[in-house]
């Protein structure tokens, strides 16, 4: 399963590297979201500083919808997905690979985005270790839930509206925990024993496990 996961992740990332479809769409989108938030709240710069973590993770969550949609769409052309199965690639491996590929893309996006946030919102940032660790696990959780739900919603004409409806509630605990954990980190009051970080780890583990168990059922069905 793990080898298959690496193969699929490598394949997806190579496709993305060559086509640059996701990055060309997602990065501008994420920045637009950040800028629109700044517009909406620009009358009170202090508020903007205070809610910066929440806005950041909202931008990531919205962007992830585009990312996971693409990750599943890759396999739809020429029934590539069936091809993978016929080759005997483990469905759990496909899931983990896709989640990993989305994770890498989102994580890179976050690095760029955090620079944008500093410039646009100007929050005080401290506690880098907690910031990085919560970002890792939050992104894992969002990618796993996202790939799972994107596959669940695939094949529907209303997918563009259905996927957010399904994914946003499921990912909202992750969004909440990531926001709170970043708030703690920004306030500089927190250690690595942050309860929100623990929550993020639990969610990442749960979504990854559920996905690798159920993915074969979805593909088969």
């Amino acid at each position: 399963m793990w080898r298959d996961a690496l193969l699929v992740a490598g394949k997806d990332l190579r496709i993305e590297l060559r086509s640059r479809i996701t990055i060309n769409q997602i990065l501008p989108f994420a920045f637009i979201v950040l800028i629109v938030f700044a517009f909406a709240l620009d009358t009170s710069p202090d508020t903007l500083k205070e809610v910066a973590p929440g806005l950041f993770w909202l931008a990531v969550l919205f962007s992830s919808i585009l990312g996971v949609d693409r990750a599943v769409a890759i396999e739809r052309n020429d029934s590539a997905g069936e091809g993978l199965l016929v080759y005997g690639v483990d469905p759990g491996g496909i899931f983990l690979g896709k989640a990993a590929s989305v994770f890498v893309q989102l994580f890179l996006l976050e690095i760029v985005l955090i620079l944008g946030m500093v410039v646009l919102y100007g929050p005080k940032i401290g506690g880098w270790l907690l910031i990085v660790l919560s970002a890792v696990f939050a992104t894992l959780g969002i990618s796993a839930a996202g790939v799972l739900y994107s596959q669940l919603a695939s094949g529907s004409k209303a997918k563009q509206t259905l996927l957010p409806l399904l994914l946003v509630p499921v990912a909202s605990p992750v969004l909440l925990a990531a926001t709170k954990s970043w708030q703690d980190a920004f306030a500089g009051t927190s250690s690595l024993g942050d309860p929100w970080l623990r929550l993020l780890i639990v969610f990442a583990v749960v979504y990854l496990a559920l996905g690798s168990v159920f993915y074969s059922s979805i593909l088969e069905g």
Partner: protein, 165 residues
């Protein structure tokens, strides 16, 4: 719970046959792996339920905690909880002045909004506002009533019939 993929019928094949052949796990191993993973999920959720969060979702701070964290709170807006001290309530033109108490720590409150109808002495309240000096300026009072229900006229209750569900 995990079904073999369509076409993945080769359950008789060994798990790690030569690389050229499709590697399909035997269905029993597959099922065991599924149960193992579900076990992880259950344990993870269990950890979350038992240990995980405790009081981390801070909807409000009690009066004693707020006084303790006074320096850190500054004049940030937060929710403060405490029991309304009897005899401290004075209606003002726009709202009401009173004190709240928790663990024998008292906080003086100046409220500028209409209190809800259940507002009364000895009831726990949650206030939204911020400190100014040692006075808590509140612009919203929420009553946090308990889950106890007692008949207003106990003599009317013929039989005590506290059935459990």
């Amino acid at each position: 719970m995990v079904q073999s993929v369509s076409g993945g019928t080769g359950s008789d094949q060994p798990a790690n046959s030569s690389k050229a052949k499709p590697r399909v796990l035997p269905s029993r191993r597959r099922a065991r792996r599924a149960w193992l993973t579900l076990g992880i999920v259950v344990v993870a959720i269990g950890v979350l339920l038992y240990k995980g969060l405790g009081n981390s979702l801070v909807y409000f701070r009690t009066a004693s905690e707020a006084v303790q964290d006074r320096a850190q709170l500054g004049n940030r807006t937060f929710r403060l909880e405490g029991v309304v001290v009897p005899g401290s309530v004075h209606a003002t033109g726009t709202g009401v002045d009173f004190s709240v108490e928790s663990s024998n720590v008292f906080v003086q409150v100046h409220d500028t909004a209409n209190p809800p109808q259940l507002f009364q002495p000895n009831i726990p309240v949650v206030l939204v506002g911020h400190f100014q000096g040692n006075i808590f300026l509140s612009n919203q009072i929420m009553v946090k009533h308990s889950a106890n229900y007692v008949a207003a006229h106990p003599d009317r209750v013929a039989t005590v019939n506290g059935k459990k569900l």
